[in-house]
Assembly symmetry: D2
C-alpha cells in the first residue's frame, strides 16, 4: 500500500491581506486554495504554513513530517530567516520534494539550492500565456494535451538564470513576444525540485484546471522516498588491503585498519 503524501503549502500571505483584486480570487490566501486542490486528491494530505507564523510555520518538526513543500513568495523574500532557509535546504538534500511557484523564483530557498541568481525579465500586462508540453510522457504532464492557455498572466521572459534543468517540461509562449522555461526539474542531494512559472496573485491561475492538475502531478512526482543524508564527511576504513609504505613515509602502514570481512 502506498503511503499518504504529506504536503506543506507555504505562502508569504501578504498580497491577499492588502490587495482587493487578490483577495477576490483567494479570500483565504493562495495557500488555502492550493491546499484545497491537493487535499481533494486521494493519497495526498496538505496543510499550510505562512511567513508570519513563528519560524514561518516551518519548524523542524513540521519539516520532518513533510514529504513535499510548495513555496510561493514575492514581496517579502528578505523577511525569511536564514535559519529557516538552511533548514529547508537541508531537508531537500535529505529527500524532501520542493515545488517552487511563480515569483518564488527569487526566494532565498530556491536561489540557495540553484546556486545562481534566478533572475528573469517580467511584465504585468494582462497577456495571454500558452504553455507547450514538451514531455507528454512525463508524470508531471500526465493528462495534459499538447499545450494549454492562460488568458491573463504576468509575463516572465528569458534569460532565466538557472542551471540547465535536468528535465524541461513546459515552455511558455507570451502574447507580447517572449518565451520562458516554465516547468523545470532538478535533483539536489536526494530531493526533487520542480519550478512552475504561472501563478501571479492578481489572476485566478490556481483555479485553472490544467494548473491544478500539474500541481497534483508534481506533488506525486516530487514525493520521493525520504532519505537522511549525511552532511558530515566521515573518515572510513579501507575495504581492501593497502600496501605498507614505511620505506617512503617512515611510519607504519595502514593495512591493519581494513574492515573485518
Amino acid at each position: 500500500m502506498q503511503k499518504e503524501i504529506r504536503v506543506t503549502v507555504w505562502n508569504e500571505f501578504r498580497h491577499e491581506k492588502e490587495n482587493a483584486a487578490v483577495k477576490k480570487h483567494y479570500p483565504d490566501g493562495m495557500h488555502a486554495a492550493i491546499a484545497k486542490t491537493l487535499s481533494a486528491q486521494p493519497g495526498i494530505r496538505a496543510r499550510t504554513a505562512t511567513l508570519d507564523e513563528p519560524e514561518h510555520g516551518l519548524t523542524e518538526q513540521t519539516l520532518a513530517d513533510t514529504d513535499v513543500l510548495t513555496w510561493w513568495g514575492h514581496v517579502a523574500h528578505g523577511e525569511v530567516s536564514d535559519q529557516v532557509v538552511a533548514r529547508v535546504q537541508q531537508r531537500v538534500l535529505s529527500g524532501m520534494g520542493l515545488i517552487v511557484l511563480h515569483s518564488g523564483h527569487f526566494s532565498k530557498v530556491f536561489r540557495r539550492l540553484m546556486g545562481t541568481n534566478c533572475s528573469l525579465k517580467w511584465r504585468e500586462a494582462d497577456e495571454k500565456e500558452r504553455l507547450w508540453n514538451l514531455e507528454s510522457g512525463h508524470p508531471i504532464a500526465e493528462g495534459l494535451g499538447d499545450f494549454f492557455e492562460l488568458p491573463y498572466e504576468e509575463m516572465y521572459g528569458e534569460r532565466f538564470d538557472i542551471p540547465t534543468p535536468e528535465e524541461l517540461i513546459f515552455i511558455s509562449w507570451f502574447e507580447g513576444g517572449e518565451v520562458f522555461r516554465s516547468g523545470c526539474c532538478w535533483t539536489r542531494g536526494h530531493g526533487r525540485i520542480f519550478y512552475f512559472r504561472p501563478g501571479h496573485e492578481t489572476y485566478p491561475t490556481y483555479h485553472d484546471a490544467n494548473v491544478q492538475r500539474i500541481l497534483v502531478n508534481a506533488v506525486r512526482w516530487a514525493a520521493a522516498r525520504v532519505w537522511i543524508a549525511t552532511d558530515t564527511c566521515p573518515a572510513t576504513k579501507p575495504l581492501e588491503r593497502i600496501a605498507p609504505k614505511e620505506a617512503v613515509f617512515g611510519r607504519a602502514g595502514v593495512e591493519q585498519q581494513v574492515r573485518d570481512q
Copy 2:
C-alpha cells in the same frame, strides 16, 4: 590574437606554515607551486591570493581582472568572509572560470555554487590512486592517456554530494577499495566550474606532470569570455501588440507600450 588568460591562484596557506611535511613539498605554499606551473605556459599569467591578506586577496578589483580563479582550502573554510564568498559567486555567474581543488570541495564558495553539501568519505592512508580518463577528446584531458596514477594520496570516496556533473572527465580507483568522481564540470550563470580531486597537502601532487597538465588544460577550458550578467529582474516592454482587455479588467490596455520598431 588570443588574449592572455589572467589566473588568480587562491590558497588558504595555513598547512604550509605549520606542518614540516607540507613545507617540504611546498616551501612557498601550494599557491606558489601552482602559479609557477601555470605561468610557465604561453598565454597564461598567474598571480596568487591567500586567506590572511586583506579581503583574502580577493578585492573587487582583483576579481575584475581575473579570468579564472583556482581555490584550495581545508582547515579554515569558516574564516572566509561571506562577503567575499558572495563576491566570488557573482563573478562566476558573470563568466569567471572557477577551478576547485581537492579539499576545496567543502569551501563556502563551492557549496554556495552547487547548492548541496558536497560531503564525501575520506581516509589518509598513503594509498595509490588511479584516475581513469573518460573523455580523451575533452580539452581538460588533452594529452593524457587512458589513465594515470598517483602513488600516494588521500582517499575521497562516494557518495560525493554534488549535482550531477554536466561532464564527468575522471573517475578515481583507490587501493583501499573506493571510487570517486574526480573531474567534474558544471556551468553556473555564465561561468564554468571544474572540480579536480587530487591535491592533499602532505603529498607532492601538484608537482606531478599529469596533474600539472590538467591544471593548465582546465584553466584554458574555464577561460570563457567574461560576461556581465544581469542579476536584477528588469521589467520589459512587449515586442508584440497585446490585445486590450479593458472589458475584463476595467483598465487601459498595454498595447501602446510596444517598443518602437
Copy 3:
C-alpha cells in the same frame, strides 16, 4: 489502484545450451531466472522471449503488451533482425521501459538508442567487483547500502562510449584496477532506459540478492506510463493570427487558417 507491470525478459539463450558452467547456474536459461525473480514480486508479471523464437519472440503484439523489456545478449547480436530492432526502438520512444543487461551494451538495440558505439574494456579473470551506490535516494537503489560486492565477475572498464547518463547510480571498483559506470539512466522519446553492468553468464550473478533487488527496482522505475508518440511530422494550423504578407510574397496570407477558438 496501480496496474500490474508487464515485463518481457529477453535472452539470446545460447550460452546456456552449450556451456556446462553456464547451464549449472541457469539450467533453464538466464531469462527464466530473471523472470522468476520479477514475477515473485507483487504487481509484476514477467514472461520471456528468446532469439530463436519467430521474430525473436518480439512480435508487435508482444511489445504492445509490454511495459518493460529487459535485454541480455552476447555472442549473437548480429543475428537480431533490423526489423525487430527498429520495432523495439519505436516502442521505447513511445514509452516502453528498457533495461539493458551486461553484454547487452553491444546489442543493436542499445547502440541504436544511444547513437554511440557503446564500446568498453573487458577481462574475464574471476575478479571481485564492488558497486558503489551514488544515489541512495533513487528508486533504483532503494534498499541498498553504500555499496555491495560480487565475489567473481567479468571486468568492464572505462571508457564506456555512451552519452553522458542523465543519472549515474552505480560506479564499480574492480580488483584488477579499473572502474566503470555500472548503473546508468537515460530518457529517449517517452521511454526510460537503464543499463546495469553485472551479469556474466559463467557466474551466478542473477541469483545475488542485491542484483535481484536492483532488477526489481529498475523494472518499477522504468514502467512509466505508455504513450503513443507521433513519429510523423504533422503540419499544423496557427494558434494566433499571422499578419498577411502579400506585399512581400505576392500571395494570400494564411491568417484564415487560424484554428477555431
Copy 4:
C-alpha cells in the same frame, strides 16, 4: 598557433535546381552561400559536398580532412546511403564536429546520432520568428543580443523528439503561437553536435547577419580536437594483482597477467 578549421558544407542541393524562389536566394545553392560565409572568416576554410556527387561527396578521405561538417537536407533524406551515414556517424564519434541545419532534423545522420525520431510540428506561413538567446556567455551566442528576429520563416513547433540537449542556446517564438528549441548542443562519442533551426529554402535566411554569425561561432565551437576513438572492445590485462581463486573455479589464477610496472 591555432590551426585552420576545415569545414565541409554538405547540401542536398535539389530545391535550388527546381524552385525559382529558392534559386533567387541561392543561385549556386545554399551550400555555396554558407561556405562563402565561413571562408570569409580568418582561420576557417570551407569546401562543399552534395548529394549527387559520388559517395555524396563524403569519401573516407574527405571526412578524414574535415574538422566540422554542416548538413542541410530535406526532400531526399532517403537517398543518402546507409554506408555514408555510418561513415559520418563514426567520424563524429571520433571527434568531428557536426552542425545540423533546419530540415536536417529528419536526416538519417541526425536521427542515427540522437537515437530518437527527431519529429516536430511545422507550418509554412511566412511568419515571424524571434530567437531568444538563453546563453549570452556561450561561444555559439558570442556577439548576439538578447534576441534577434527573422521576418519570414517556416514554423517548427514542439514537441521536438530529441534527447534533452546538454546545452540549450536558443528558443524560438513564432507569430502563429508556437515555441521551439532552436539551438541545441550535444556530445556524442568525442564529437560535438549543434542543431540550428532556421534555414527554410524559400527565405534568405542564410544571408541574415545574425544567422551567419551563429554559423561561424558554431563551427569554431564544434571544431574540437579530433580523436581516433576505439570502436572495438579490447580485452585488457589487470593493473593490480587479482587474488587466485583456484579453490573456487578449479583453474589457475590470472595474477600473472598483471602488466609489467
